[in-house]
């Protein structure tokens, strides 16, 4: 439930509890996680501006997308970017996460490597020192809420295990080890000025334990999954083009909430990309619509009408001696001689009955003799001399 997530993030941390944390997960099959991230970010922002949320502002850790992307996003959603300094701080871990540009500038190779943005940003030049990242997140947060009371939200746009990213946790993880990322996340959650945290994780870039660790650290997780699961485990292939195209436009949206008492609630919804944003709706009559939309449009009818369906159910197939009260047996040509003799007698007794019951179609087959071989691949006419 996207709304429930937004509400939980809006309400923030309860007294004496850790801040709620949300992990958004996606895979390359349905790479729509960033849309969900943007959606939640804008929802939270509008709640903050309306004064409804516990958080007074957002610290956005931009790891996988540049600050200019977020400027465009906020403008597009109708927020006043010029006054954003009151409620938004961006920690730019995108532009120079390893300090390369800084080094090049010092050497004189390049003059001005940094991008200018209208958002209030602070540049992170060494993502490997996560402690510094943590302290700058908290510093930026304090700038928004000013000293003393008030809380702020933290948004990380991709976590990367071995090296860098909190807007994408994927990026953070790429530059540092899992334990240190986990430590930072739990630090943030327990910090008394943090209202809520949400981050994005591209699951398939990491080992399974990364996703599990982050799930333990968060109170909610939102999975974006393909509508139709691939059975063979293969990556996108050219054979299922409509499916591939679909998976970039819609997906299943599964949300798991962990209550304080340990109860877990799972909710399923569907997610559509619509224009620049996403729309999340209730699951509509399961896969019926998907199946319909995946079948190409043809002029003739592929479905059966109700009458056709009933008629088809009535047809008695050959060898199915139904309605005699006996167990239904299917002749496979391998029965012993005795059995087939018995059957022959029985069948001759039953024969008059079946002819009386002329309303029902039936095909009965008697084997002429045992000389006749059961069905085989052999060509019966192969001795024919033409």
């Amino acid at each position: 439930m996207a709304e429930t997530i937004c509400r939980a993030l809006r309400d923030g941390a309860f007294e004496g509890e850790h801040a709620p944390a949300l992990t958004i997960k996606d895979t390359i099959d349905t790479p729509l996680g960033s849309f969900v991230f943007n959606h939640i970010l804008t929802q939270l922002t509008s709640n903050i501006l309306a004064g409804k949320s516990q958080a007074r502002g957002v610290v956005l850790v931009a790891l996988s997308r540049p600050p200019s992307f977020y400027t465009e996003l906020l403008k597009d959603k109708g927020f006043d970017v010029s006054s954003s300094s009151k409620w938004l701080r961006v920690l730019d871990c995108y532009s120079d996460p390893l300090g390369w540009k800084n080094k090049l500038m010092e050497k004189g190779t390049v003059r001005n490597p940094y991008e200018e943005t209208s958002l209030k940003t602070s540049l992170c030049k060494n993502l490997k020192e996560l402690d510094k990242v943590l302290s700058s997140i908290i510093e930026l947060g304090k700038e928004i809420v000013e000293e003393g009371k008030g809380r702020f939200a933290v948004a990380i746009d991709s976590v990367m295990l071995v090296n860098f990213s909190f807007g994408s946790v994927s990026e953070v993880l790429r530059h540092s080890s899992l334990p240190s990322v986990a430590r930072i996340l739990s630090h943030l959650r327990s910090h008394d000025q943090v209202s809520c945290i949400f981050c994005l994780l591209h699951v398939d870039l990491h080992e399974a334990k990364v996703a599990a660790t982050l799930e333990y650290l968060s109170t909610m997780h939102a999975d974006v999954e393909p509508i139709v699961q691939r059975t063979n485990g293969q990556r996108n292939t050219s054979e299922d083009l409509p499916m591939v195209e679909q998976s970039f436009k819609r997906g299943k949206f599964h949300v798991r909430f962990k209550r304080r008492n340990g109860r877990v609630r799972v909710m399923r919804e569907e997610l559509y990309v619509e224009g620049s944003g996403i729309k999340i709706t209730e699951v509509s009559s399961e896969d019926g619509i998907t199946a319909q939309s995946l079948v190409p449009k043809v002029q003739f009818n592929l479905d059966l009408s109700e009458k056709e369906r009933l008629d088809r159910a009535k047809v008695v197939l050959p060898f199915e001696h139904q309605g005699t009260g006996k167990l239904i047996q299917i002749y496979d040509g391998r029965k012993s001689l005795n059995e087939s003799e018995n059957e022959e007698k029985q069948a001759s007794v039953e024969k008059p009955q079946t002819t009386e019951d002329s309303g029902r179609g039936e095909i009965i087959y008697f084997r002429d003799s045992d000389d006749e071989m059961p069905d085989s691949d052999e060509d019966p006419d192969d001795d024919l001399d033409i």
């Binding site: 540049p66 390049v110 292939t237 083009l241």
Partner: protein, 270 residues
């Protein structure tokens, strides 16, 4: 006639304002190098002032020169007129294998060269797209001695150039003076050499960030003499315009000829 066929690829890739990230993936059976040549030729069309920065890990200059000359594009001339910058990385870091620092410094220096070139070209007058091409990513990994994280760092820095130089400078209200600049990024990679969990990000991470993914695969039915393989083009739409819903997938066959590549839909070749 050949022109209209060549447009099948162009059609699928689409026209973009400004820069974008294109990932070409191929496999052992079907090489995707010709897609790279196509983009190279397109960027160097005489009627534009676009610039290509080509980072070659796979082949020397003479190799590309020969191929492009057959396609009707003289790289030597473009190199002289500074529209084609060729960075020969065939021997990057091969002499010294002293340790971690050197390897990363090698990629840092390479990035420095790229950024310097981009900075110079973007400061010039006029509108142009700067295309950075890498042939190919798997060989950067070889140069970095198998440390895929260094490669991903390097690629990340290359992507930051796209964000930095993507701007539309409107000069007054005169549309003719509109100066559109962008920095595109075209890379080639081999899909089938990444299977373990450690190296998989090297193929997946660029896919997450790409605007267009082009896959060259053999035909599912095996090899044929008149069809050399199939291309699947996944166009995510211009994500930077925030119009992500326009993603499209196209699939068509191709035949690589001496100086041109034919693109056609399955079954339409006579």
């Amino acid at each position: 006639m050949d022109n209209s066929r060549a447009n099948l690829l162009e059609e699928a890739v689409g026209i973009s304002k400004g820069g974008r990230v294109v990932v070409v993936e191929d496999c052992v059976e079907t090489s995707g190098a010709f897609v790279l040549h196509h983009f190279l030729k397109r960027s160097l069309y005489p009627d534009t002032s676009d610039v290509v920065i080509f980072i070659a890990f796979a082949h020397p200059f003479s190799h590309y020169e020969r191929i492009l000359r057959k396609m009707g594009c003289n790289l030597t001339v473009h190199r002289k007129t500074h529209r084609f910058v060729f960075l020969d990385m065939l021997t990057l870091e091969c002499p010294d294998r002293n340790g971690k620092e050197t390897r990363q410094d090698g990629l840092l220096a390479l990035y420095g060269e790229i950024e310097k070139a981009v900075e110079i070209y973007s400061s010039l007058e006029g509108s142009r797209t700067i295309t950075i091409m890498i042939d190919d990513i798997s060989l950067i990994e070889v140069a970095a001695n198998g440390l895929s994280n260094h490669v991903l760092d390097f690629l990340h820095y290359c992507y930051t150039l796209k964000a930095k130089y993507e701007k539309v400078n409107g000069m007054g209200y005169d549309l003719n003076n509109l100066c559109i600049q962008g920095c595109s990024f075209v890379t080639l990679n081999h899909e089938d050499i990444y299977s373990s969990a450690n190296t998989l990000p090297l193929i997946l991470q660029p896919e997450y960030l790409a605007d267009v993914i082009i896959k060259a695969e053999p035909l599912a039915t095996g090899l044929a003499s008149d069809v050399h393989g199939q291309l699947t083009v996944l166009n995510k739409g211009s994500v930077c315009d925030l119009g992500g819903s326009s993603s499209k997938v196209r699939n068509f066959h191709f035949r690589v000829k001496e100086n041109i590549v034919d693109y056609f839909y399955p079954g339409t070749q006579t």
